[in-house]
């Protein structure tokens, strides 16, 4: 067991984007003597679910100018791109490959370690559990050893659910995603950004067969446009109201903006600084209403695609190769070398069966911590040391991101960063939001030094 010395020590569990951003923020102030232990089971840092090499040429869905690791140094990523010889002819409103962003995060981590000799320790290990101890938090590793630190931060990020229907449906890029005949008919469940990734993988493999995209609403993500965000002030935003009231205000603002020759994207982006506050001002009832009825609609406007990609997708739909179906997915079974998917179209009471060569499950990321595939999360929840938030979309944390146990007691030394805190913050999935959270968390951890 490693013991913690007198100096401040933090263990970060998870070395994806959230973990790396936090480590970088903790090590930014060279005057503070701190020991940061970053543990990642895959042994690749900065390459979580979103930015791993397996995503090949898939693009980041946020323009490069918004992707700096540091909110107070917005050009940081762009400068790094320039140093690597990335073409600057189109300016910083460009969408870079995701693996390039993964490489940037690796660079950020390396620099943080280099400029703070002896303060950053990275480990390739699987974390099995965390325990509160007298001196802080003990992090138990799969190899039987443990790390003791003053505090620990769960940065486990997104995790995908196992594909639905007893393993008949397939996750893109998984081992079972074997090559298909180019003219095979496939079905994709879900129509969000994960579907776009799946479609892109098929398109890049010159797939010619028909692709049926099934989702409850049949909504495609919208495309980006280079328009400035509307300047909105907190004094203007109707916090704490009912959903219909808020949506009326929002739609009126969009209409007014359009009348002045503006774009709806400016309103969506202008609201961004207030999204977490808006979410927190809502009642539990309003939050649930939003998740049930508005979330898909909000997602397609808020999480948009690079314009060229959006055009390609729209063209594929227009050509008939991609068919959008608004339907509920009922189930899937194997049948004569094929799989037969059962769906119920929206507004219809009858089910229908469609035979396809493969069903891809792009149902998005898992949100239920009770069925987490991550041992440390499962252990925390099973022992009542952590619990799901009231809406069951992440872990319950207080306003400072500290874990709340089954009895409502806060564990100040055990913190959470990133998407798992979405019950409290809702919009905490993209780099521009996570880097702000990393800065706040780092400041709070360092204030205990």
């Amino acid at each position: 067991m490693s013991t913690s010395s007198g100096r401040l020590s933090v263990t970060i569990i998870g070395g994806g984007a959230s973990g790396v951003l936090l480590a970088a923020h903790l090590l930014r102030n060279r005057d503070t003597d701190i020991r940061v232990t970053l543990i990642e089971r895959r042994g690749e840092f900065g390459q979580g679910l979103a930015y791993s090499a397996s995503q090949r040429d898939h693009k980041v869905n946020v323009p490069a100018r918004g992707m700096s690791a540091f909110a107070d140094d917005p050009e940081h990523f762009w400068r790094w791109l320039q140093q690597r010889g990335y073409p600057s002819s189109h300016g910083s409103w460009v969408f870079v490959p995701r693996r390039l962003y993964g490489a940037y995060l690796e660079h950020v981590l390396r620099e943080a370690g280099k400029s703070n000799p002896g303060r950053l320790l990275v480990m390739s290990e699987e974390v099995m559990a965390v325990r509160e101890s007298k001196n802080g938090i003990e992090t138990l590793l799969a190899n039987g050893t443990s790390v003791v630190s003053h505090s620990a931060v769960l940065a486990v990020g997104h995790e995908t659910q196992p594909a639905r229907s007893r393993g008949i449906a397939v996750r893109v890029g998984s081992e079972r995603d074997t090559p298909l005949p180019a003219d095979a008919e496939v079905m994709i469940l879900g129509s969000g950004l994960s579907m776009v990734d799946a479609w892109l993988s098929l398109a890049d493999a010159n797939h010619r067969g028909p692709i049926t995209v099934v989702s409850r609403n049949g909504l495609l993500p919208k495309g980006h446009r280079d328009v400035p965000p509307l300047s909105i002030d907190s004094a203007d935003v109707p916090f704490g109201t009912s959903l219909p009231y808020f949506m009326r205000w929002f739609r009126d603002l969009v209409d007014e903006t359009k009348k002045r020759g503006g774009d709806w994207r400016s309103v969506v982006d202008g609201l961004r600084p207030y999204n977490q506050r808006i979410w927190q001002s809502w009642s539990g009832h309003t939050k649930r209403q939003f998740l049930r009825h508005l979330r898909p609609w909000w997602n397609i406007h808020r999480h948009r695609l690079p314009p060229e990609l959006h055009e390609r997708l729209v063209a594929a739909v227009a050509s008939g190769q991609v068919k959008l179906v608004a339907a509920e997915f009922v189930g899937v079974e194997r049948a004569e070398g094929q799989v037969r998917a059962e769906i119920r179209r929206r507004g219809s009471s009858t089910r229908e069966k469609l035979g396809v060569a493969r069903v891809y499950d792009c149902g998005g990321v898992s949100v239920d911590v009770l069925s987490s595939s991550n041992p440390v999360i499962r252990d925390l929840v099973a022992h009542g040391r952590a619990r799901a938030d009231a809406l069951r979309i992440g872990l319950d944390v207080n306003e400072h991101c500290a874990v709340i146990d089954h009895a409502g007691k806060v564990t100040e030394k055990l913190l959470v960063i990133g998407p798992l805190t979405r019950g409290r913050f809702f919009e905490i999935e993209a780099i521009p939001d996570i880097r702000v959270q990393a800065a706040t968390l780092a400041a709070r951890i360092l204030s205990h030094a």
Partner: protein, 123 residues
């Protein structure tokens, strides 16, 4: 409702208009019938005064040119050099800061006629 109007000495019609706006915004709900009336839709400590004020009076702007979404120019000044406007933008932020961090419960604790309204509504 008649009770609130009497105890606070405000016309019933005026109160009716206010309550109907508050109902539209989801701060209160109403029930018809003999045992009916208005109740708070959320616990009083969750309702922030600034949130209610935006619904009743629009953006928290001390003067119309200091609002961004309900902006109206003053007509008799040059905005780029108007010191008053710049000052009023700070005033606006200060107003929001106070009102958005004060709950209905806290306001009741301060006393005054609002206590009667809140007491009647939560009763």
């Amino acid at each position: 409702m008649g009770d609130i109007a009497r105890r606070n000495n405000i016309p019933k019609k005026f109160l009716d208009a206010i309550l109907s706006e508050l109902r539209n915004a989801g701060f209160v709900y109403s029930r018809k019938g003999k045992a009916g009336g208005y109740s708070l839709a959320r616990p009083a400590d969750e309702i922030k005064i600034g949130h209610v004020d935006r619904v009743l009076d629009g953006p928290l702007a001390p003067i119309p040119c200091a609002s961004k979404t309900r902006y109206q120019p003053c007509g008799d000044c040059d905005e780029a050099t108007c010191q008053i406007r710049r000052l009023m933008l700070d005033v606006r932020n200060a107003i929001a800061d106070v009102l958005d961090n004060t709950s209905l419960t806290q306001m009741c604790d301060m006393g005054g006629p609002e206590v009667l309204i809140a007491e009647t509504m939560t009763a």
